[in-house]
């Protein structure tokens, strides 16, 4: 994909974009337009990356991000028009010393807007994941429906996950939920698989693979979905 600066998704059109170089972007999604954006950086970025969305009435954005290297990604979303929708499905995977910083700020400004953000990832060895996601719902954003869920697995003794979800809500006609869970591979789950004949590394790989890949199904494009699965497997094979 060429340098992304300002991209306009025209009214009532549908596009799929794959962002492998993770470039800064200002994306306008016009009325009734539909965008599927896949952020799949293949190496660490040496600088902070910003992706901003301005979604007009009836516009839909479905974003998938796989952060498998050190990265500093900031996503700002403005749901400007009524009935606009933003979905973000993100996985992160720090296996060694990666530093993964993710900040998102979603502003619901139109009525009956919806956002769904699912983040799951793991931090192993000495990696650090800093995940912060804020949702603002303005006084005009009646009947907003917002959901944010973050699940993190800690694998290394020196690994760290910092999570900061947040809401700022200025109307009562709203349904807003967020949850965040940071935990670890349960010994009883590993034991169960080992009792079925798997070795410990095989059991770990199976659980982690299932944990990360559950969001990969949200990638609609088959080649990119497979590529993502391959990248995850490749990284898992290196550590287990």
């Amino acid at each position: 994909m060429a340098n992304m600066k300002k991209i306009i998704i025209k009214k009532n059109t549908k596009r799929t974009l794959v962002n492998k170089n993770l470039l800064d972007a200002e994306i306008v999604v016009e009325k009734g337009a539909n965008l599927h954006l896949i952020n799949l950086p293949t190496k660490k970025t040496g600088r902070p990356v910003k992706i901003n969305f301005h979604i007009q009435a009836g516009g839909v954005v479905r974003q998938f991000s796989a952060l498998l290297h050190s990265i500093d990604l900031s996503v700002q979303v403005e749901l400007l028009g009524d009935c606009s929708v933003f979905g973000h499905f993100m996985i992160y995977f720090g296996a060694h010393k990666e530093k993964i910083i993710f900040k998102s700020h979603t502003k619901h400004q139109g009525a009956q807007t919806m956002s769904r953000q699912f983040i799951c990832g793991l931090a192993g060895q000495k990696s650090i994941a800093d995940i912060s996601a804020k949702i603002d719902i303005s006084a005009q954003a009646d009947k907003t429906d917002a959901l944010l869920a973050h699940e993190g697995l800690l694998l290394g003794k020196q690994a760290r996950i910092n999570s900061l979800p947040g809401f700022s809500i200025h109307t009562n006609e709203v349904r807003a939920v967020h949850n965040s869970a940071i935990h670890y591979l349960k010994p009883q789950d590993l034991f169960y698989l080992q009792s079925r004949g798997l070795s410990l590394p095989q059991a770990q790989k199976l659980i982690i693979s299932g944990f990360l890949k559950k969001l990969v199904s949200y990638i609609q494009e088959e080649p990119t979905r497979q590529e993502t699965i391959n990248l995850i497997d490749h990284k898992l094979n290196k550590i287990l």
Partner: protein
Amino acid sequence: MPRLDKHNKADYIKKAPRGLSENLVRKISQEKKEPAWILKLRLAGLRSFYATPLPGWGPDLSALKFEEIIYYAAPDEIVEDNRSWKNVPKDIKKTFEALGIPEAEKKVLAGVGAQYESETVYHRLKNKWEKLGVIFEDMDTAVQKHKKLVQKYFMKCVAPNDHKFSALHAAVWSGGTFLYVPAGVKVQEPLQAYFRMNAKNMGQFEHTLIIIEENAQAHYIEGCSAPKYGTHSLHAGCVEIFVKPRARFRYSSVENWSADTYNLNTKRALVEKDARMEWVGGNMGSGVTMLYPSSILRGQNAHAEHLGLAYAGRGQIQDTGAKVFHAADNTTANIVMKSISKDGGDTVYRGLIEVASRAKNVVTNVKCDALILDKHSHSHTIPKMRVANPTAEVIHEASVGKVDEENVFYLQTRGLSAEEAASLIVNGFIEPIVKELPLEYAVEMNRLIEINMENSVG
């Protein structure tokens, strides 16, 4: 306890200086005949206060005029022997009678403390607990009578230079409660203290120091109120709690300051091995509250429970939450916070869960729910989690919404009015917190919710 907007005459205020100065701090220390170490701490607090800026986060405190606050004022009639209600001046006694304190003391309490402006007017512990070695004194008396004990613990949990308002507190603290429960003693009835501000522009800076020795148990309740004047009052108290191994302590508080009070309180507990600390709090009053009770779990298997309720009406900002620091293995915590905002009120849940890298097998659950009752009100949640150990399980969930119209309709079909239905639903929402409060506070809280729910439906 009913919110009291009536105030007594306060001629003593005419003599009380406004604003903060080293002279004032020295005068407070001199009048109380304090040992040198306390004066040293006060002066260090004053220097730290001047050197520390206002916090760069949270509610806007720029309207708080420090130079207009009265930091120390004692009622005209000083109570020399504060162990009898007979010695308490009539109008002050009437205030506490209206709050139900003397009656509660007779019926259900192990001991009571009552503070009016900057001084304690009444403090008494039932004989049977005194005989077992329980100490329940006002703080000023404790400084004189139990020098070594107080010096060992005073401002060791909350340091004077912790933040700007702990520094202010260190400089001008007066009154408060000292509670010491010896090892193995389990105080069955609750102990209560009530803090009342009366005069305009008053500041109250009581210090509560609680030490629960090994395998001991107690329950302490604090209530507070102030009349409304339309000019600012300031409350910057401090609560320090030391819960020793295998001890169990519950701290309950219902804060009902008037809407022109800035409530900038600091509350913290150090919890040792196999010990349990419970915080139960209701924040109904004050114009601006910044309050984050904290538990430092530094012994293995220590547990903290934080249950809190915040109500923000017109012109109120309730910025409250809970902080838990897991510094040892197998520590656990459970946090349940409920908030209600109405008529433009603003509630903020601000929390922190921190798991140290050396703390293995930590389990923490946080649940914060908010009800916004109308279009003009606001709710914010800022729950931070920092986890540095791979055996920890930290779970947080939050939901925000309004009273469901379908539920209101259902209750109306059963004969309730819309307001009664909404009130019932809101009472159900806060029930997990209210049921843990002492009965008279629970009843009062339900009553306040009912009053505040008027005209909230439609």
